[in-house]
Symmetry: C2
Subunit: 451 residues, 2 copies
């Protein structure tokens, strides 16, 4: 690793220069901006380390995917999953400098997408170059690339794409889009994600609003919605939808072990948000247990009747709620949507319309897979600190297609840190994290050669 | 009554001309428009029938009240309660013609306030003139006037005003602001009103919104609000606040008799609003029973988190609801507000802030008072139809100060009809109703002489 490390340390400027060009492309998938040109840019990036690369279409409405391959000396294959699209930069006025111009300030690099997820791909390519330089241009394992262009809008049709190209993408192990360190600088290894199901509830009780004096006899859409919502989850946070928890996979012994070792960091969040308490009063181990293993039912928005200042004696005829469910393995979005519908009908809420989006599956790698141990060991060596290992995070990323269709274990390794402001103004990374994350990826490649 | 009737029939144009000038004053209390000049205009109207009249201040923030007196030949006194302010005319574009220009179209007169409540005062003055003409200028009873200027914004400080002037306003009986016919043309006699308590609930769980993946541990303001609301009323419409129904006065035998005689008119409303059903599936007698005797708890508005199109994976830190309670005698607004607060605290919702407005008291006259029988008998004679008698309506008007502080029974008699569009564009009355309502008031004056 000495040569590799030296190469990374001495070729940072090259990487920053690549990153400057990459960030300059305003690849906002939600606004369909700069998609085609960024896909071509990524193809050339992959070719710059010697990979064969190609831009392949996804089914409508998916954006093109850049697929690449760099042959190695063994039959073992590492798949790198990344995405080239970014979140919208708005609100512009909260950025210190223009979002699509890379800005360097001491240890910090700023720009939209620099953390999520363009910086990770550039770091991984630097790791590969460093390895190649140290080994006469050779790689011990084949490296494949899957860089998609619409992760920020839910990766439409990725499942179908991976299915269609499963031979070409076949691999033994996979690094998912990113990773990095926690608030105290310990490397974080995440082995999976929760899934998500977005649901909108709507009720119309009449063709128009009424005077509130009619509340005595005319059905009120806001009440119907409130009662329907209250039937979904109790104040003790137990979700009441029959069968909701059935498919939730219980933690394995190794997952329990990782859980017990997780640091207790929730007090800082409590302070930061000025909470009275967490739900169910959880702390420490119980907090982490909920964080990792509990699915959720979250109201994202409520709307009905008069919402302006003062009072209006109106009886609303329409009410809507937006919710999302974060799902744990092996819950399935479509199954949960069915159960929500069935539950509401059974509880007498057949006047509530349920609109469910397609959703994303949860995914969790086997915690006792040797690849997990490799990622943890190399993290320990590179960072000089014990890694923090999450069986899965609380958020959602499209890991299920790779994990399920390709059958690969996935783990995180990357250059992020908690204040990187992904999705927010002044998105940033620290160069020191970039260096360590890059060395970690190189160490994983080296470790795969030994494995 | 023959002379009186003839006078009314032959002096309609004079009344319409008065009404044209009255409607031309844009007395929008919510916008503090034309208050002082309308009060002076009303003073002159009262003086035009020979009354002494004066504009008196109410306590801040109340608008001035016009008080008048017209002596009669007996010690019996009839108080006429009216208001000179009107609802805002907006939206202007939905009016067929300018709202403050009286427009006549066949049997119809249009203009803001023509039904609520300016037309009623002009009709009552015509009734008085007709009586005077038929009786050599004399009246058998003293008539007093109380015309306030902020009924449309909740009659602030009316209670205090009536208390302060209780000697001057002392009376035996009172006609409240209006009245008229139902959809089939039967005269409606209403003996009271429900009260109202407006409440706003607000909950803040954190200083800012969070990513919805944190729904697993971070409290959600929308959920807190939903659960708090669901604790107030069950889907079977039973209000769960302890003691809420305690002060609700049970119907008397006479009230029950009136209730049984009420027509069953709810099917038309059901069709009009395209309802699946009324709450609790009520029909006929049960519908009318709820309408008259049940207090309500109505959500007027809900607001939390993301309410725009599509989804947003946000966990809201703030949520608000607006509610109103319609109260029946002898529920008291302040007592109900206390009970709401206590209930929420007891149910574990001490994170919910409760903002309660002052509210208005319910009021219901004794159904067996001779004045009620007089108003019903004269209605039967003038309209040639059996009157429909409501122990109280479902809405709210400021009758409590007069009924409680002056100790007078109150009943309705007036010129309105169900499609008069009070508070809405193209507010209107029918001249035929104006004639009958005027004759009814004159007949009541005549009846009081006999009583």
């Amino acid at each position: 690793m000495t040569d590799i490390s030296r190469y990374v340390d001495t070729h940072l400027e090259e990487a920053i220069s690549q990153l400057r060009d990459y960030v300059a492309l305003p690849t906002v998938s939600a606004q369909r901006q700069a998609i085609a040109e960024t896909a071509q840019f990524v193809r050339k990036l992959l070719e710059s380390v010697g990979a064969t690369a190609e831009v392949l279409p996804k089914e409508e409405p998916g954006n093109p995917v850049v697929v690449g391959e760099l042959p190695g000396d063994s039959s073992r294959t590492l798949l790198l999953y990344n995405h080239y699209d970014v979140q919208p930069p708005e609100p512009f006025e909260l950025w210190t400098a223009p979002p699509f111009e890379l800005r360097r300030d001491g240890d910090f690099l700023y720009g939209r997408g620099i953390s999520d997820n363009k910086g990770h791909l550039v770091s991984r390519l630097l790791a590969i170059r460093a390895f190649q330089e140290a080994h006469g241009g050779r790689l011990p394992v084949t490296i494949k690339f899957l860089v998609e262009g619409d992760e920020e809008i839910g990766s439409p049709k990725l499942e179908e794409f991976v299915q269609q190209h499963r031979q070409r993408l076949a691999a033994d192990v996979c690094l998912h889009e990113g990773g990095g360190v926690n608030a105290t600088g310990r490397p974080v290894v995440s082995l999976g994600v929760k899934g998500i199901l977005a649901v909108q509830l709507r009720v119309r009780t009449a063709v128009r609003d009424s005077h509130s004096s009619l509340g005595v006899t005319v059905p009120n859409a806001a009440w119907r919605l409130v009662w329907a919502l209250a039937s979904l989850k109790d104040p003790d946070e137990r979700i009441r939808i029959p069968g909701f928890y059935d498919a939730a996979r219980p933690p394995t012994e190794q997952e329990e072990a990782f859980l017990r070792e997780l640091p207790h960091e929730e007090e800082k969040l409590k302070e930061n948000l000025q909470l009275r308490d967490f739900v169910c009063g959880v702390r420490g181990y119980d907090y982490n247990r909920r964080f990792v293993f509990e699915p959720t039912c979250t109201i994202n928005g409520l709307s009905s009747g008069y919402e302006g200042p003062g009072m209006k004696t109106v009886l609303p005829s329409e009410a809507t709620a937006k919710l999302d469910f974060r799902l744990v393995p092996d819950q399935e979005p479509a199954d949960i949507a069915d159960k929500v519908r069935r539950h509401l009908a059974q509880e007498g809420f057949d006047d509530i319309e349920v609109f469910a989006a397609e959703g994303e599956y949860p995914a969790r790698s086997a915690a006792d897979h040797p690849f997990v141990e490799l990622v943890r060991r190399t993290a320990r060596e590179v960072y000089g600190q014990e890694p923090v290992t999450y069986p899965n995070g609380a958020g959602t990323q499209p890991l299920h297609p790779m994990m399920s269709l390709l059958g690969v274990p996935m783990a995180s390794a990357g250059i992020g840190y908690p204040d990187g402001r992904a999705h927010a103004p002044d998105e940033n990374i620290r160069l020191s994290d970039f260096v360590l994350g890059t060395k970690h990826v190189a160490a994983i490649i080296e470790g795969l050669a030994e494995g």
